[in-house]
Symmetry: D2
Subunit: 301 residues, 4 copies
C-alpha cells in the first residue's frame, strides 16, 4: 500500500485521515495543532514536524485547509519557505480537498504541472458525519490520469467520486452546486411559508411538491420547516448540519467565480445577500435551513 | 356510471373529456366554440346549448376555464345570468380544474357551500400531453368527503391525485409548486452557465449536481441547457413544453397570492420579473426553459 | 365659497378637513367614528349622519379611506346601498385622496362618468405633519377640466399639486414614486453600510454621494443611518415618519399594478420582499428607514 | 511650480495631463503607446522612456491605469522590476486616479508608507468630457496631509475634490456611489416603464417623481427613457455616456468589496446580474441607461 501524507487535521481532515489508516495506507500527518496530530498518532498515524516533512517521500499528499491563500502558500511556498511541490518526489500525486476559489486551485495546478506533478482539486461535501463514516462526496478537477490514480485514496474516504473536468473544475462544480443548493433552500422556504400563510399544512404541501415539478433535494432530505421531517436540523432548532457561516463562505466563493468569468447569477447573488443578513443577525452558527425563519412571522408578532 | 358535465373544451379540456368518455361516463359538453363541441360529439359526448344546460341534471360538473373571473361568473352568475350553482341538483359535485387565483376558488366554494354543494378546486399539471394520455396531476382543495367522491372522475383523467387541504388549497399548492419550479429553472440555468463560463461540460456538471444537494426536478427531467438531455425542449430550440407566457401567468398568480397573505417571496418575485422581461423580448411562446438564454452570451458576442 | 363634503376623518383626513374650514369652505363631515366627527364639529364643521347625507347637496366631495374596496363601495354602492354617485347633484366634483389600487380608481371614475360626474384620484404624500400644515403633495388623475376645478380645494390642503394624467393616473404615479422610493432607501442603506464595513464615516460618504451620481431623496432628506442627519427618524430610533407597514401596503399596490400591466419590476419586487420580512420581524410600526438595520451587524454580534 | 509625472495617457489620462500642462506644471509623461506620448509632447509635455524614468525626480506622480494588478505592479514592482516607490525621492506625493479594488489601493498605500511616502487613491468620475473640461470629480483616500498637498494638482484637473477617509477610502466611496447609481438607474427605468405600461406620459411621470421622494440623479440629469430629456444618451440611441461594460466593471469591484467586508448588497448584486445579462446580449458598448430597454416591450412584440 502507498504512503499518504495528510496535512490539516481539523473536524473534517481528522476523520478522513483515520479512514485512510483503516484502509491500510501508511499515513504521515501534520497539523499546526499538536493535539490534532497526537489524536491521529493514537490511531496509528506517523507524525511529522512540518508539512514538507510529511510530504517528502510520500506517494500521495492530501491536504484539507481553510482557504485559498493557505493552499497557495503551502503548495507553492514563498520567498522564505519551500512549497510542497519543491520537496515531493517525481510521481507524487497531490490532492487538495479544501473548498477554495477556483483561481487558487488552477494556480497551484499550474505550478505543479511546471514541476511535472499532477494536482487534483477535490472539494468534499457530506460534512463531519460523512467524513467519519467515509461516505463523503468528492468533486474532482484534474487530468484523467490523475483522477484514476486518486481512486484508491478517495474511495477510502468517500462514497461518490466525481470527475468534473480539468484543474479547478472540482472547485467550480462544487460552488455551482452549493450556490444552487442555497437557492433551493431559500425558494423552498418561501414557497412553504406562503403555503402556511394560506392555511396549508407544510407537510402536505411538501409531500405534493417533492413529487411534482418543484421537487428538489431540500424537500427530499432537508426540509427547512420545523416539524415536517424528523432528524433534520429544522426539527432540532436548526442545530447541527451545515452552518450559515459556511454557506456564506461558499456563496462568497460562488460570487468570486462569477466575477472571474463575468457570469450573471441573480438568484445566487440574492441568496448570498439574504444569508449574509441572516448571519449578521446572529445566526451564523445555526444550520443553513434556518433561513426559513426569515420568512416566518416572528413569534412575538 | 355517473353523468358528467364538462365545460371548457380547449387544448386541455378536450382530451380530458375524451378520457371521461373512454372511462364509461356519460359526458355532456359545452364550449363557446361550436367546433370544439362537435369534436367531442364525434367521440360520443352529448352536447348542450349552454353551460347551465349541460350541468342541470348531471351528477358531477367539471370545468376548465382560462381565469378566475370566468370561473366566478360561470358558477355564481351575476345580475343577469344564473350560475351553475343555481341550476344543479342537490348532491352534485363541482370540480374546477382551471388554474386560477385562490381567492376566486374560495369565493366559489363559499357560494357553493351556501347552497349545500361541494366544490373542489383541482388545478392540473402535465400539459396537453398528460391530458391526452390521462396522466395529469391534480392538486385538490376541498373537504375530505368531496375529495373522496371525486376520485372516480379524477383518476379517469390523471395519474396523481393530491389533496392539499380545504377549499382554495389546490390552487395555493399548485402556485407554490410552480413558483418554486420557476426558481429551480432560473437557478439551474445560471449555475450551469457559470460552469460553462469556467470551461466545464454542462452535461458533466448536470450529472454531478443532480445526484448532489443541488438536485432538482429540472436537472432530472428538463435540463435547460441545449444538448445535455435528449427529447426536452432545450434540445429542440425550446419549442413545445410549457410556454413562457403560461409561466408568467402562474407567477402572476403566485404574486397575487403573496399579496393576499402578505408573504415575502424574494426568489419567486425575481423569477417573475426575469420571465416578464424574457416574454417582452419576444419569447412568450417558447418553452420556459429558454430562460437559460438570458444567461448565455448571445451568439453574436 | 363652495360646500365640501369630507368623508373619512382619520389621522390624515381630520387635519385635511380642518384646513378646508380654515380656508373658508363650508365643510360637512362624516366618519364611522363619532368622536372623529365631534372633533371636527368643534372646529366648525357640520356633521352628517351618513356619507350620502354629507355628500348630497355639496359642491365637492373629498374622501380619505383605507383601501380600494372601501372607495368602490362608498362611491358606487351595492345591491343594498346607494353610492355617493347616486345621490350627489349634477356638477358635483368627486375627489378621492385615498391611496388605493389604480384599478379601483378607474372603476369608480368610469361609474362616475356614466352618470356625467367628474372623479379625480388624488393620493397624497407628506404624512400627518403635511396634513396638519397644509403642505401635502397631491398627485392627481382625471380630466383637465376636473383638475382645474379641484385647484381651490387642493391648494387649501397642499403645497404641490401634480396632474399625472387621466383617471387612475394619480394612483399609478404615486405608487411608481413610492416603489422607487423604497428601492432608494434599501440601496442607500446597503451602500452606506458597505462603506461603514470598510471603515468609512457614513456622514462623509453620504456627503459625497449626495452631490454625486448616487444622489437621491433619501440622502438629501431622510438618511437611514443613525447619527448622520438630525431630526430624521434614523436619529430617533426610527420612530415617527412613514411606517414600514405603510410602505408594505404601497409596495403591495405597486405589485398589483405590475401584475395588471404585466410589467417587470425586479427592484421594486425585491424591496417588497425585504420590507415584508422586516415587518414580520416586528418592525411594522417603525419608520421605513429602519430597513437599514437589516444590513448592519446586530449589536450582539 | 512642481514637476508632475503622469503615467497612463489613455482617453482619460491624456486630457487630464493636458490640463496639468495648462495649469503651469512641468509634466513628464509615460505610456506604453508611443503615439499617446507623442500627442502629449506636442502639448508641451516631456516624455520619458519608462514609468520609473518619468517618476524619478518628480515632485508628484499621477497614474491612470486599467486595473488593480497594473497599479500594484507599477508602484510596488516585482522580483524583476523596481516599483515607482523604489525610485521616487523622499517627499514625493503619489496619486493614483485609476478605479480599482480597494484592497489593491491599500496594498500600495501600505508599501508606500513603509518607505515613508504618501499615497492617495483618487478615482474620478465625470468621463472623458469631464477630463477634457477639467471638471472631474475626485474621491480621495489618504491622510489629511496628503490630501492637502494634492489640492493643487487635483483642482487643475477637476471641479469637486472629496476626501473620503484614509487609504482605500476613495475607492470604496466611489464604488459605493456607482453601485448606488446602477440601482437608481434600474429602479428608475422599471418605475418609468410601469407608468408607461399604465398609459402615463414618461415625461410627466418623471417631472412628478423628480421633485418627490423618488427624486434621484438619474431623473435630474440622465433620464433613461428615450425622448424625455434632450442631450442625454437615451435620446441618442444610447450612444456616448458611460458604457455598460464600464458599469459592469464597477459593479464587479463593488461585489469584490462586498465579499471582502462580508457585506450584504441585494440591490447592487441584482443590478450587477441584470447589467451582465444586458452586456451579454450585445449592449456592452452602449450607454448604461440602455438598461431601460430590458423593461420595455421589444419593438417586434
Amino acid at each position: 500500500m502507498s504512503t499518504v501524507a495528510f496535512i490539516g487535521l481539523g473536524n473534517m481532515g481528522g476523520p478522513m485521515a483515520v479512514n485512510l489508516i483503516k484502509a491500510g495506507f501508511t499515513v504521515r500527518v501534520f497539523d499546526l495543532v499538536p493535539a490534532a496530530m497526537q489524536a491521529l498518532a493514537e490511531q496509528g498515524a506517523l507524525t511529522a514536524t512540518s508539512a514538507c516533512g510529511a510530504a517528502a517521500g510520500s506517494d500521495i499528499v492530501v491536504t484539507m485547509l481553510p482557504a485559498g491563500k493557505h493552499v497557495r502558500s503551502l503548495y507553492v511556498g514563498d520567498a522564505d519557505n519551500k512549497g510542497l511541490i519543491d520537496v515531493v518526489g517525481k510521481g507524487t500525486l497531490l490532492i487538495d480537498c479544501s473548498t477554495i476559489d477556483a483561481d487558487s486551485a488552477r494556480f497551484v495546478a499550474n505550478h505543479a504541472a511546471d514541476k511535472g506533478l499532477e494536482f487534483i482539486d477535490a472539494p468534499v461535501s457530506g460534512g463531519t458525519a460523512g467524513a467519519a463514516a467515509g461516505t463523503l462526496t468528492f468533486i474532482c478537477g484534474g487530468t484523467d490520469n490523475a483522477f484514476e490514480q486518486a481512486q484508491g485514496v478517495l474511495t477510502a474516504m468517500g462514497a461518490n467520486i466525481f470527475h468534473a473536468g480539468g484543474p479547478g473544475a472540482g472547485q467550480v462544480a462544487k460552488i455551482c452546486n452549493n450556490m444552487l443548493l442555497s437557492v433551493l433552500m431559500v425558494a423552498t422556504s418561501e414557497s412553504l411559508q406562503m403555503g402556511v400563510d394560506h392555511g396549508l399544512d407544510p407537510k402536505v404541501l411538501s409531500d405534493i411538491m417533492k413529487v411534482s415539478s418543484g421537487g428538489n433535494w431540500t424537500l427530499d432530505k432537508y426540509n427547512p420547516c420545523p416539524g415536517v421531517m424528523e432528524s433534520v436540523p429544522s426539527s432540532n432548532d436548526y442545530q447541527g448540519g451545515f452552518m450559515v457561516d459556511l454557506m456564506v463562505k461558499d456563496l462568497g466563493l460562488s460570487q468570486e467565480a462569477a466575477l472571474l468569468s463575468n457570469s450573471s447569477t441573480p438568484m445566487g447573488a440574492l441568496a448570498r445577500s439574504l444569508y449574509v443578513n441572516h448571519a449578521r443577525k446572529g445566526n451564523g452558527k445555526r444550520d443553513f435551513s434556518s433561513i426559513f425563519e426569515q420568512f416566518a412571522p416572528s413569534s412575538s408578532e
